[in-house]
């Protein structure tokens, strides 16, 4: 018995010292970046910072946001890398972000950096709403392609449209918030009432509508341009439509969570996220990135998307988020069956 305890103690001690010897810091990073990109991001980061290991926690934007808010008193994350700016504004208002000016932040487009000094968050890239349109299935159903958001309320598209639920999906929320900004509060809800008639169902994640459109489960998926471009590259018969009224967008951004035990490593990571190298990495999927002059056109990306981006009021979106979601839920969630 005694020997066993000794042995265990020795084992525990040796494993402790082994950890110290490796001197590897582990960072818990919360993200809403697409799962297939995460390994690539971590690899690029580790090329210059081999001693910092990233443990990803990935989920839809709404969920990561809500998770962070719920963990307010007991934060589990060290860094948030790749979450909607709207969400980071919410976290900032809770005092959950550690302001930090990363080395080289001055090189970024000022639009992509938080107004405070030092900034609470720094932007990476913009992700933009778009409509994924399956040409094969649409033709079978006898549809003509829509050119504007208003077109989608046409009775011709009844049960032919899928969009993400804004409660869980950041893409869903940026759609709803952009409609409210473009059409005004009243006009926005009126528009959604009309659109709701044509929606087959609301999905949990923002990429699913486009993946479903790509797989022909539905002719039209309201999603984001980057996802559409990827599915198109996979060989799906998709057309990516930019509605003429303009499209909602949000910024993916990075911030340090206040109270993290690994400030130094967290700062190194944030330093990396604003480098030209990192921005080139974002550019593989995102046509608009924070570092001026880096962006190259992305394959299969629709023309005119950048001009269609609306003048997004992030503060409006952040401060009215709870009220908008409550209203949305009472109007549309689960009601389609009750009728």
């Amino acid at each position: 018995m005694k020997h066993k305890t000794k042995l265990l103690a020795a084992l525990a001690l040796s494993s402790l010292t082994a950890n110290v010897a490796a001197a590897e810091t582990e960072l818990t990073v919360y993200t809403a970046v697409e799962a297939e990109d995460l390994a690539r991001y971590a690899e690029t980061f580790n090329a210059s910072n081999p001693d910092i290991k990233i443990n990803w926690v990935r989920d839809s934007t709404g969920i990561i946001t809500a998770k962070l808010l719920a963990e307010r008193d007991n934060p589990q994350a060290d860094v948030v890398w790749g979450l909607a700016a709207t969400s980071l504004l919410l976290l900032k208002s809770e005092g959950m972000l550690e302001p930090y000016a990363p080395a080289g932040v001055g090189d970024l487009d000022a639009k992509f950096v938080d107004g405070d000094n030092p900034p609470a968050w720094v932007g990476m890239d913009a992700w933009v709403a778009a409509v994924c349109y399956n040409t094969v299935e649409a033709e079978k159903a006898g549809l003509t392609p829509p050119t504007s958001w208003k077109d989608l309320t046409d009775p011709m598209y009844k049960d032919q449209v899928i969009m993400p639920n804004p409660n869980s999906s950041g893409t869903g929320f940026l759609d709803v918030s952009s409609w409210l900004q473009m059409f005004g509060e009243e006009g926005g809800w009126e528009y959604m009432d009309g659109l709701h008639e044509n929606i087959a169902r609301y999905t949990h994640s923002g990429s699913k509508p486009c993946k479903l459109a790509a797989a022909g489960e539905i002719p039209i998926g309201i999603s984001f341009a980057f996802r559409g471009a990827k599915s198109k590259a996979d060989g799906a018969p998709l057309e990516i439509i930019v509605p003429s009224e303009g499209v909602g967008w949000d910024m993916e951004a990075t911030a340090i969570v206040a109270g993290t035990a690994n400030v130094e490593a967290a700062q190194k990571l944030v330093d990396f996220t604003v480098t030209k190298e990192a921005n080139e990495m974002y550019n593989t999927g995102y046509a608009v990135v924070a570092y001026p002059g880096v962006a190259k056109p992305v394959e299969h990306f629709p023309d005119g998307l950048l001009d269609a981006m609306i003048d997004n009021d992030f503060e409006f979106a952040a401060n009215n988020r709870a009220a908008i979601l409550k209203e949305w839920q009472s109007r549309y969630d689960g009601k389609s069956e009750a009728k």
Partner: protein, 673 residues
């Protein structure tokens, strides 16, 4: 001589005779208390925390804020305006406006009817207590000093709520039709699935027990297959069969599989084995004399069926019905995948908790869901306790007689059911191997590249196996030892019956509810067990507790078959009970021990509902990966992972079978002397 009478009432009370507790008794009671405490800490306390959370609300406390308004020149006259008095004057906010969620915000300008953001009037605002919080734009202010703002900045002021207690959440729940409707949806979907499943399972069990058709063994095996997969998997198969690109889409005549139709078909698939097992047991025991009597009374087969067969199996049928009802109403994976816009209670909990992190509302829905689950459970227990002594010592076991026509019909029927079960599984496997359904039908292994998808990749598969092994090992030890203590210790009646009650409770608690209550209980920083949150340990504990009851009952049944004389003999030989336990009890009950461990293994592999709230990035699980990949639209990889779970469980079953045979040969030889 005076008569000596003894009046027992007038006698002085003798000393209370209490048998002296031996060291063994103390040890056994001590261990029993430890296991009972385990159940309290992993079941009772979390549930209590959850219940109290459902009464926790957020309100805007207007009395916490004070304002000052300047004149046009920006001079303040020192008049302090408390926010609650302003609201009483203007009636800007009603009581329901002030009840909100944890992330509620309230714009203050409505308290000032003549507010204009262009006016030169200045405003001051402060909190009157330390708990007050408000935002200016995105900046949090929680001090009690005055903050001076111009009109334009003042319109960006948002008040934040404080926590309080009350029934607001329940009021809110029952006044939100979207949430409230789910009760109705859940109930009718469960009733319908129950009727269909029990009917189908009854005839299947009838064919296997009361006919002379061939291949009974094969069908028995097929009927059990759905137990080996997560309940999400039939949903995925149905998407491929009846979705908009489905292979058999035309069979639905334009109806959509996303909704009640899909949920019912999928529920029939995954509850079938449970119903079949219970009904089959009920049909297996029957008295042939009743049938002989029916024949001699010239009763028609139809009449015999309704007056002999059905009454004989009635407890089994009722029990199966409630078990199926309970499984369907508490299941979350299937409606999540195939439910579309059809909301049910279990999915509501998930949406509230995971989608919006509205934990309080999640707790409210949980409380609502627990009520039908507990009711179904209690009725089932009452019925099961009545199912005794159908077979007396004088009964003659019923032997079916061959009937070519009937046997053929039964065989055809069983083939149909078998086709349904095998078909759904085969569709999943097929879909997993297709490159890009429906546009590129070439075969590829691309969908097995889990590391590129949501859900944690291949490591979640490894984690699942780890979880299943640990659950089987730890769960079997705890459960069997606990059952032994409760069954074989002396005296201590109250303690034993309380333990029995605790052991039965997990079955009545839906997995989602258990998982949610674990968040509340273990994630609070004040809990000394907080350290296990986010580790494999909490997953093991949660899974063991979730599946405690059935394991416990299996163990108790096996132990009841052992005579209590063993304990007496060992006591008279002055052998410690623990030695008896290790040397005699465990080897004799080894078949039951193996059954419990395979039961726990399989369920740990397939469970979704209990662990969906508890996994962390390091402990992602295969069953959760199926869910997450489907959520992200990667349906084919989800099917691939689901089939991996199926093959693993099937392999575990085979190993279990071989191991049982080997071990039984060595330890159970005494049974057939």
């Amino acid at each position: 001589m005076s008569e000596l009478t003894t009046n027992p009432n007038s006698l002085p009370a003798g000393p209370d005779i209490r048998p002296k507790l031996s060291r063994d008794d103390i040890l056994m009671r001590g261990s029993m208390i430890v296991i009972a405490l385990y159940l309290v800490a992993t079941l009772v306390l979390p549930l209590y925390t959850m219940l109290s959370k459902s009464f926790s609300t957020y309100r805007m406390e207007l009395s916490q804020y004070e304002f000052q308004v300047s004149d046009e020149a920006g001079q303040f006259d020192g008049v302090i305006l408390p926010a609650d008095e302003l609201n009483a004057q203007t009636n800007a906010f009603s009581d329901t406006d002030l009840a909100t969620g944890s992330d509620g915000r309230l714009s203050v300008t409505e308290l000032f009817p003549d507010f204009s953001f262009r006016s030169p009037v200045m405003y001051q605002i402060r909190n009157t207590s330390d708990t007050g919080r408000f935002l200016v734009g995105s900046t949090l202010q929680d001090g009690t000093d005055w903050v001076t703002l111009d009109s334009n900045a003042f319109r960006r002021v948002q008040l934040r709520p404080v926590q309080s207690r009350g029934l607001d959440n329940f009021v809110n729940y029952f006044s939100t039709p979207a949430l409230f409707n789910s009760i109705k949806n859940s109930l009718w979907i469960s009733v319908l699935s129950t009727i269909v499943t029990v009917t189908l399972a009854f005839w299947f069990a009838y064919a296997l027990n009361r006919s002379c058709m061939r291949f009974k063994g094969v069908f028995r095996l097929i009927a059990m297959a759905p137990i080996l997969v997560p309940s999400l998997l039939p949903g995925i198969a149905l998407v491929y069969l009846f979705g908009n690109q489905g292979m058999l889409k035309e069979m639905l005549f334009g109806a959509s599989i996303y909704g009640p139709i899909g949920i019912v078909i999928g529920s029939v698939f995954f509850t079938f084995p449970h119903a079949f097992l219970i009904i089959s047991t009920a049909l297996a025991i029957s008295d042939a004399r009743l049938y002989e009597a029916a024949v001699s009374l010239r009763s028609t087969p139809w009449r015999t069926f309704w007056t002999v067969t059905i009454p004989g199996a009635r407890y089994g049928l009722i029990s199966a019905a409630f078990v199926v009802f309970n499984l369907v109403i508490t299941d979350f994976g299937l409606p999540k995948v195939i439910g579309g816009q059809f909301n049910v209670l279990a999915v509501d909990i998930y949406k509230q908790v995971i989608g919006q992190q509205n934990f309080e509302m999640g707790a409210v829905v949980s409380v609502v869901l627990v009520i039908p689950a507990i009711l179904a459970f209690v009725i089932d227990r009452m019925v099961q306790s009545k199912q005794v002594a159908l077979l007396s010592a004088r009964s003659v076991p019923y032997q079916p007689t061959p009937n070519r026509k009937a046997d053929r019909i039964f065989l055809a029927y069983c083939c149909l059911i078998g086709l349904f079960i095998i078909g759904l599984l085969a569709v999943c496997q097929f879909a997993a191997l297709i490159k890009f359904w429906p546009y590129d039908l070439s075969l590829s292994l691309k969908n097995y590249d889990f590391n590129k998808m949501d859900g944690g990749g291949w490591s979640s598969y490894i984690n699942s196996i780890k979880l299943a092994l640990l659950t089987a090992l730890i769960g079997t030890s705890v459960v069997f030892f606990g059952a032994y203590l409760v069954e074989k210790s002396n005296g201590f009646r109250t303690g034993r019956s309380i333990f029995q009650m605790f052991a039965m409770l997990p079955m009545a608690i839906p997995g989602m509810v258990l998982g949610l209550s674990y968040i509340f209980f273990f994630n609070s920083p004040s809990n000394p067990l907080n350290g296990i949150y986010g580790t494999m340990a909490i997953l093991v504990i949660c899974t063991v507790t979730h599946f405690y009851t059935v394991s416990h009952l299996t163990a108790v049944t096996a132990l009841k078959q052992m005579d209590r004389e063993f304990e007496s003999v060992s006591a008279s030989l002055k052998q410690p009970t623990m030695k008896l336990f290790a040397r005699v009890t465990v080897p004799v009950c080894l078949p039951a021990v193996l059954d419990i461990s395979i039961y726990l293994f399989v369920n740990a592999m397939t469970t979704v509902s209990a662990v969906v709230f508890l996994y962390s990035p390091k402990t992602t699980l295969a069953s959760i990966a199926v869910l997450n990949m489907d959520d992200a639209g990667d349906i084919a990889p989800a099917a691939a992972m689901g089939m991996m779970i199926f093959y693993t469980n099937a392999a575990a079953r085979i190993i279990h079978l071989i191991a049982s045979k080997g071990v039984l040969g060595r330890t159970q030889a005494w049974r057939n002397r």
